[in-house]
């Protein structure tokens, strides 16, 4: 390539990278030669010299899925703008795989690492004293000095409850996932606290179950059979909400007429598939991914970034709570 342009490789490098003192005409000649030959610089050689790889690793601790994807897309967006690529590693909740991938990423000298997972509960740091910056997205690190970007789930629950109050409901129940699940308890507590703060009693004790439509259906039966006077239900997930809506309708209750329902996740197939369409809380996963990537870039550039950062949720009102 350098030969075609009649210059040395050193000069060619300068020409393509905009360095050094070169006549504009020479620069142009090199660029044209590169174009003509379809020349692309070898990234390995470059990174060997510069120490930068323009690559970040993304380790999903749980399997890749509904939560990781928007995070990935958000991160990719923020990094792609800076011409960086993403190495995706799926540790499948296996610490051995996780450490293996960590070694791989380190051997590839990635500029930084984003750690994500399917649940928001804090996890052990992926490593200590690592030679590259690390940011946790969605999941948070148990070490509070680590940088984590997490959704403010309590905020989401608050918004859901306030919305139900705002549309005139007062007999509000909460149906959610397993009691041992961090998200379930955080959201349940925030929902209860919000009700209390507004001077309203919960219409029923929180119902813990699974994150499934089947549980939502079952929960509808339970709520109705206890004879509780319920005019709204805040659900811990869209799947539960959808099952609950079907359960209520099957028992002859109208949604939102008799009972208004709010879900959580704003998962398109659920909120749109549900009749009526489901009001839901959106955690803005893509925004979390983007934000995590931006923080990682800041760390790569030497800025000091520490501690967890909670991002607010927003509520998307739909027919299931229409007045």
């Amino acid at each position: 390539m350098a030969a075609l342009a009649g210059v040395s490789t050193g000069t060619a490098s300068k020409a393509l990278n905009g360095r050094g003192a070169l006549r504009p005409e020479t620069r142009l000649r090199v660029q044209q030669a590169a174009e003509q030959l379809g020349f692309v610089a070898n990234a390995a050689a470059r990174s060997l010299q510069t120490g930068r790889t323009y690559t970040v690793g993304m380790i999903t601790t749980d399997s890749i899925g509904r939560f990781s994807i928007p995070l990935l897309i958000g991160a990719e967006g923020a990094l792609g703008a800076g011409q960086m690529s993403v190495f995706l590693c799926d540790a499948r909740d296996d610490p051995i795989r996780e450490q293996y991938y960590l070694r791989t990423l380190l051997s590839r000298k990635v500029d930084g690492i984003i750690v994500t997972g399917r649940r928001t509960q804090a996890r052990a740091p992926i490593g200590v004293g690592l030679p590259v910056p690390v940011v946790y997205a969605f999941i948070s690190s148990a070490d509070p000095s680590d940088c984590s970007v997490i959704p403010d789930e309590a905020d989401g629950a608050r918004r859901a409850v306030r919305h139900l109050l705002a549309v005139g409901r007062r007999r509000i129940a909460h149906v959610t996932g397993p009691e041992h699940h961090h998200s379930a308890t955080v959201r349940a507590r925030a929902a209860a606290d919000t009700l209390t703060a507004e001077g309203v009693q919960p219409a029923a004790p929180t119902l813990y179950g699974e994150w499934s439509e089947a549980w939502g259906r079952q929960a509808a039966g339970i709520l109705l059979s206890t004879g509780a006077d319920v005019d709204a239900v805040f659900c811990g997930s869209d799947q539960i909400a959808r099952g609950l809506v079907e359960g209520l309708q099957g028992a002859g209750r109208a949604v939102p007429g008799d009972v208004a329902v709010v879900g959580f996740d704003n998962w398109d197939v659920m909120v749109d598939g549900c009749r009526p369409a489901l009001t839901s809380v959106d955690m803005d996963l893509e925004g979390i991914g983007r934000s995590a990537a931006e923080l990682l870039l800041a760390k790569i550039n030497g800025e000091q970034v520490h501690g967890p950062r909670a991002r607010p949720c927003h509520l998307v009102p739909r027919a299931s709570t229409a007045v």
Copy 2:
């Protein structure tokens, strides 16, 4: 590291890679030193020398989503066993982005590229005369000499129809996605041909619409309003099937009592969320991803692999077609 073990870097390299003639004791000493220092070889330097990166690129032409993920997981599984990593690139259906990512992958000297997409329709080859092997997964290349791994959708449709016939249905209709969508037409034709081959008339003309639950609901209304005598419906997707089931039930028809329903995709949230649980055709996307990765590895190892390969589907019977 070499210093700690008291050998030269060349010897250390041989020790860690199992090359050269070394005393077992020396080899061990080096390995222990590497362990102690947490030494990991610099991948860039290695690949500069060996020409191999142990990395493959995966370009999803459409956005990352429900179809790409299982493909990715399958590919990752097959490649991870060979210690290779995956570079994920989301071209978002934008040719510019696609070419940009292609350049990036080439500059990183990936050992091979897997191209995937959200639809099975053949696409233009991503490049000609590329210096690395390419395999298409799920999507296929318009160039028949390119290596593509695709689901045999016609086979899937055949299995669905035969299953309905096997459980005693004879008045079978087909509801599917947009007529301009490759998958929709392929499946519809295969369904019709299978019926014909079995000497059965379709109960109604194929209904084309969208890939959504809403369309499924609407289609239920259309089928019932035409007064067609239908005892089974084969749907082009699980979402359509679920909407259709709800539509039928809303009109007082029993599933599978009055009408049996089969979906397509075997998408867990749909087939499990549906009441009754949905019989569906599984394209085995993970298997396609794995298969594509294995073919790519074969090509990387210099084997000649050409042409498209269709993989059979399988049917997963559930309550919606129970006898």
